[in-house]
Point group: C2
Chain length 149, copies 2
DNA sequence: TAAGATTGAATTCTCAATCTTA
DNA sequence: TAAGATTGAGAATTCAATCTTA
């Protein structure tokens, strides 16, 4: 692959993610939410028994230490609740509170609408191709080795 | 476009950027650099007269307040230097120090090698298609309006 | 008024070290 | 020892407010 094209490809991936993250904040902010917190709500909404903090960190691909603070803030805001795992005293299971679920139900439709608008006009075929390339890039990104400097 | 596919597309863009950012830190960290700082070095390396902080913020698409702290830390580390703009007393022109340039020259080849590895196996045609879709997504992302909630 | 830069508060993130329980 | 969670420090980010100069 042409070197210049490689750079452009990576640059555009980063720029697109950046733009989308930035714009999505505009949507979440009026609800006192951040993108990270929305992701947690989204995850917990379909987990009847809650999730351990480790599971949350694994799915969202963030550090465990990160999850602690995130859940701290959300618990303080009354959106989630920590409870003990009956089987393992080390584990904190995190569940949505009723208020958290109400908030999620309120924000989700707007988020969906925005995704619709952003992806409007893209063909399914094209989108599938892009998804395939992105997955292949991710596979390559975890495999590289430090070149000798 | 199918709703589920829309979500997958956006999710994979975010995941790819996330993965790449995380992995690139592994490369930068031994040099005491972060991805944001590397971007600044890269930008300044080809700007003989330096750049104003506003220009840096515009290209890197970060907040002006962000540039202040970033340049603070890099100046403290001796990698860049602020100087006054002869034409406009409000402007701080930021330039690479010799040490900053040496660092950039040392790190850049590794970064290029990593990009090569990550994009290896992608066809030019495919890559151009992906770039086009990403640009179109970015255009859509800055245009959306808050749906009525 | 407007533009460039700065500051402060809050959130997020990484990394290393630590604490508790398995 | 290992695993889940926490803590603390440093970096990055956003937003709002402020300061200086144009």
């Amino acid at each position: 692959m042409q070197p210049e094209l490689s750079f452009e490809l990576i640059r555009e991936v980063m720029a697109t993610a950046d733009t989308f993250l930035r714009e999505s904040q505009r949507l979440f902010r009026p609800h006192g939410l951040t993108a990270a917190q929305y992701n947690v709500l989204n995850l917990l909404a379909s987990a009847a028994d809650g999730l351990s903090q480790r599971e949350i960190g694994d799915v969202l691909v963030v550090d465990r230490s990160n999850v602690t603070g995130l859940i701290d803030r959300m618990e303080k805001a009354g959106r989630v609740k920590r409870s003990e795992d009956p089987a393992d005293a080390r584990v904190h299971r995190v569940k949505l509170t009723p208020a958290g679920r109400r908030l999620f139900n309120k924000v989700q439709p707007s988020y969906h609408a925005v995704i619709d608008q952003v992806t409007r006009g893209q063909s399914d075929v094209r989108a599938r191709e892009v998804v395939a390339v992105l997955k292949s890039l991710q596979a390559g990104a975890v495999d590289w080795r430090l070149p000798d400097v």
